[in-house]
């Protein structure tokens, strides 16, 4: 019969009692140093093995035994029919640890690739319009203060462009609520982007870059595509979630590094979003008798404009605002897809 030495504490004082543990039928005997207890095995709780740490046998009344003789205790537990939980068995083997590394990495990657976009999309379509309006207004106000200045296009020209676009039928029947505003793009040059509340900002530089009004219309259709899928909002939400998780994980290590994944994420997802918005625009243009190649033409011009600017004097990048104004890396691919339509 295995005999195990242990320290017994009654839960009422800090006094340690040197005791011996042994089995007797379906009960544990605790004896020595003035203690004599007999506890049915099913009333006991045995703590998980944790390396060199003592194992604790806890009694229902708050008393417990601290056992450091691991080999002797293992024999006693075995004789008593005790079996460790399955998590404990997983933890005790390097093979399972390796499997856990793979699961953690694969799970993390899957969550990042599919879970994150799905959650962000769900949240994006749950947010109330009032919140979107608030967000759009404060973003435009922020841009107006620093990056953009009032448009120098004549009001009549602005109206005719807006009206031409409003007359078009939209693919999904109703389209997203939107409003077109014109601004001088200054440093960001020829560009157009949609804010979460439905505001589509078009720069004067984009209007003068276009050789045909249908090219501008095509870009507006593309932006409407972003709006109807709530892309900017989803990117914003994704960025927040990634930043939150990264900060939580890195925690005490560094808060600076936490910002990096957000940047990477936005570059990754904008491609998918561009493709979706292109498809939306192509469908909308075709439905209104305009060739989708107008968008392709405009994309080509935009790319040339930005490329020449990039190689120009100060090499300043055009996508300073990441999410909203992200540059489009796979433009030639997109142009090909549009011309196939």
């Amino acid at each position: 019969m295995p005999m195990v030495s242990a320290d017994y504490y009654d839960g009422k004082s800090a006094r340690a009692h040197s005791v011996r543990l042994s089995l007797s039928a379906d009960a544990l005997l605790v004896q020595g140093d003035g203690i004599d207890r007999r506890e049915p095995l099913h009333t006991l709780h045995v703590s998980e093995p944790m390396g060199a740490a003592p194992r604790l046998i806890k009694f229902a009344d708050g008393a417990h035994c601290e056992v450091r003789d691991h080999a002797a205790l293992a024999a006693l537990l075995e004789a008593g029919g005790h079996r460790d939980g399955w998590v404990v068995r997983l933890q005790s083997r390097w093979g399972w640890a390796l499997a856990a590394v793979i699961i953690a990495v694969a799970g993390g990657a899957a969550g990042y690739r599919w879970g994150l976009p799905a959650v962000s999309e769900w949240i994006a379509f749950k947010l109330p319009d009032k919140a979107l309006a608030q967000m759009g207004q404060s973003t435009l106000a922020f841009l107006d203060e620093g990056v953009l200045s009032p448009s120098s296009l004549p009001a009549a020209r602005q109206h005719s462009l807006s009206n031409a676009f409003e007359k078009l039928a939209v693919p999904d029947g109703m389209g997203a609520g939107h409003e077109i505003v014109f601004r001088n793009g200054r440093a960001i040059g020829a560009n157009a982007f949609a804010l979460p509340d439905g505001t589509i900002v078009v720069t004067d530089q984009l209007v003068s870059l276009a050789r045909h009004d249908e090219e501008i219309i095509a870009v507006l259709a593309h932006e409407l595509g972003h709006l109807s899928r709530r892309h900017s909002l989803r990117m914003l939400i994704q960025g927040s979630i990634v930043g939150f998780v990264a900060a939580w994980y890195l925690g005490d290590v560094s808060n600076v590094a936490a910002g990096l994944p957000t940047v990477m994420l936005q570059a990754r997802y904008s491609r998918d979003h561009e493709r979706e918005a292109d498809e939306y625009a192509a469908a909308m243009l075709k439905a209104n008798g305009i060739s989708p190649s107008r968008l392709a033409d405009m994309l080509e011009k935009l790319e040339q404009a930005h490329a020449s600017k990039k190689s120009g004097e100060d090499g300043e990048q055009t996508d300073v605002f990441g999410g909203y104004l992200a540059s489009h890396p796979a433009t030639s691919e997109r142009i090909k897809a549009l011309e196939r339509d």
Binding site: A16, G62, V101, V253
Partner: protein, 354 residues
Amino acid sequence: MSQNFGTAQAVGFRFSGRGGEYFRIWIVNLALSILTLGIYSAWAKVRRLQYFYRNTSFAGSSFDYHGDPKAILKGRIAAVLLLVLYNVAGNLDPTLGLGAFAVLMLVFPWLVQRSLRFKLHNSSYRGLRFGFDGTVGGAYKAFLMWPTIGYLTLGLLMPVAHQRIKAYQHRNSRYGSEAFRFTAGEGGFFGIYLKLLGMLILLIVALVAVGVGLGWFASLGVQDGDPEQQAALVGMILFAVLGFYIVAFLFLGPWFSARIQNLVWNGTALGPHGCSSNVRARDLFRIYLTNFIGIVLTLGLFKPFADIRLARYRMEHMAVTLQGSLDEFVAAQQQGVSAAGEEAADLFDFDISF
């Protein structure tokens, strides 16, 4: 094993945790947490804490953690919701975000008080639970009023605020029925803050001097208003700012942390038994730096090893000078403790660590 420490005797803490062992626990529980979409993380946390508590021993006996995973899960859900709301509010509108920040600041002391209660009521040593009796009012004074005064006086009274926070935490803690005492006064905190300020000023002066020198060197032979001169200027500023952060985080961070830990624990006693701590800044610096490099190089897999290294260093540089026997501690009125413990368990564990 009944120790009897007749005369005063400094007894150190022992830590028996091992990196490889803890790594397996950490990674298996992390994988389970991912597979259960985060729900298992509460059970994972309890297991991780138990690993650290049970591997920490003092005078031949170990500590134990009794937190209920379900209570922790509830707390985590509440905390995540709170943070998401706060984040969303901040993204929607700066004013709304500011309002949310104010609300968060207002409930923060209450949350801290709750989490301190939870943590201490669920910690034990030799079968006796620790406890925390700090009031909510006291938490508001320590965590809201004093820091606000600190900011309003442009940091002049920040050392007092820091001292008040530590005093609130330590004076209201007890082991069984024996209360902790805290004797570290404001003077010690002022000393550490003054030295920190002095080092920060020295650092800024040194960096500006080097930066100006480099900027001047880089702009040699370049015309005024040239883009190259501007680039040199930008480079100089970048150098100064980056250098400031690196030196401040890598050197002054561990220094400050070590000094505060020593000050606080050398001023803490449990009844007649005085605590002591002799953490050295250069050791902490070495551990922080190597941990950081390890975590970066292994894409995070070194984290459990890093946690073990830091815990071992911190624990093994603490001691308690025992006056007489440990056996004399007794539980507080047993009923009161368990009822309070359950009440705290029903509420939050926000895991706010200091």
